[in-house]
Assembly symmetry: C2
Homo-oligomer: 249 residues x 2
DNA sequence: GAGTGGTCTAGACCACTAG
DNA sequence: TAGTGGTCTAGACCACTCT
């Protein structure tokens, strides 16, 4: 009768809508549901999954924001055609998480990792009043042996004690922050600019000085608008351009 | 008893949650609710507005995505501190709409407006098979007499007949598309890159050749994933950088 | 008319925060 | 313990699409 029962665990602390969304993503990534596939009607699907229609709709809604599903009133719910790579719908995911989700192979090289006193600009972003130390991280990401992303991160160590010991070659920064702070990352702001490469950066990204790159300034927050991480990212947009799905209410 | 009754019109075709969201925006923009102001509890507010808590939460949720409100479990709902300018939360709004909402004065100069046969790259984005004509628009936007944005738009005229007569100096493109197509714009995709200016563009934006600018490639869709407009935008990110609020579920 | 998604309701219980 | 948001339910009715 109920072939999907096993995928939903009502006793898990993870919300049902989130479990359902994960299950949809799997179906779609595995091509079990390929593009333009029509999903069962909401009412039927809700019955099969033994959840209310509202819960199901919350799951669908998050995938619409990611650009993975589309809904047309009177017709149905369909798997969207993939339009672009590297989408960052509304969901705050790190570059590493994004690449992993897309199945892109990459390597991370840690150039620097040390505790520093941040300059005034970083302090301001953290709303720091006292002169506290933060963990400074400088990394380059390679795809197919080519350098594509240069990242500088500043992490509030007092919010995640012990994080300075993490091997950031393998562990995604967001994972480490959530583990060591024992809290969840809640939101973030990304600001997009275009910049010409300076000498030091140009060597690291194998591009000439002055070459235009996407520059992203990011602040990541825990609950209650507590800033936990500030980063500056230089991105070769010839190799990895970023895209956003937008919707009009 | 009920001081807010007048703001919600249950007979309007506009959904209640959307009316409530507009009402919140007004309260916040007018500073009646200033930053860090705590909103009444959801249950109380729902009673005052004579709507269900679910409807109220849907309105709040859209403002959270825009970065205007934050919610903290156990504490309450608060007006967020403005963090950046030019946010494009989840909402698909045009550059003109965005600037208007922020109260930025700008001027638009139309450099070209004519029907053309688009090249292969544009045709592909429209998924056009036949060789149809589209309306080509080339505009520059000035803020404080300085050129800041260069826009090239390609509009499917057969979806919005008559749109070629619009005075685009005054009328926002999205408004014109919705009026002439008699349909609503539903979604869009923006792809961000960094590019160096070419000669012609550099003259229009008053920047040297090769200067890095934000390049945004956008496709706008009506219902059912019908592409109605394709645009290429060059943006002086020293004058107008774009920011996105992101949230983690 | 039958089938779909879009909106809305009125509850219920849980998780978290603070005094 | 009281107050807050977070999740979930089981319905209802409406708007739209297709035949």
């Amino acid at each position: 009768m109920n072939e999907h029962k096993n995928v939903i665990d009502k006793n898990s602390p993870k919300p049902l809508y989130s479990q359902i969304a994960d299950w949809f993503r799997e179906k779609i990534i595995s091509k079990e549901w390929s593009k333009n596939h029509q999903l069962p009607a909401e009412e039927d699907l809700a019955k099969q999954l033994e959840v209310s229609r509202g819960t199901l709709r919350k799951a669908i809604s998050s995938l619409i924001k990611e650009g993975i599903l589309i809904q047309i009133q009177g017709k149905g719910t369909f798997v969207a055609e993939p339009k672009v790579s590297h989408p960052f719908g509304q969901e705050l995911i790190s570059f590493a998480e994004s690449m992993e989700r897309e199945g892109i192979q990459f390597e991370t090289k840690v150039l620097e990792k040390r505790l520093i006193h941040p300059n005034a600009s970083i302090q301001k972003k953290f709303s720091l009043i006292e002169d506290q130390t933060v963990l400074y991280l400088k990394r380059v990401r390679y795809i197919d042996q080519e350098p594509v992303i240069l990242l500088e991160n500043y992490i509030q160590v007092n919010l995640c004690p012990g994080i300075e010991l993490v091997e950031f070659e393998r562990i995604p920064l967001f994972t480490a922050i959530e583990n060591y702070s024992k809290r969840k990352i809640k939101s973030g702001i990304r600001q997009f600019e275009a910049r010409g490469l300076e000498e030091e950066q140009s060597a690291l990204l194998s591009l000439p000085i002055g070459a235009p790159v996407l520059y992203i300034d990011q602040i990541t927050y825990l609950d209650e608008s507590i800033p936990v991480e500030v980063s500056q990212v230089w991105l070769r947009s010839d190799k990895y351009s970023m895209a956003s799905y937008l919707h009009r209410d």
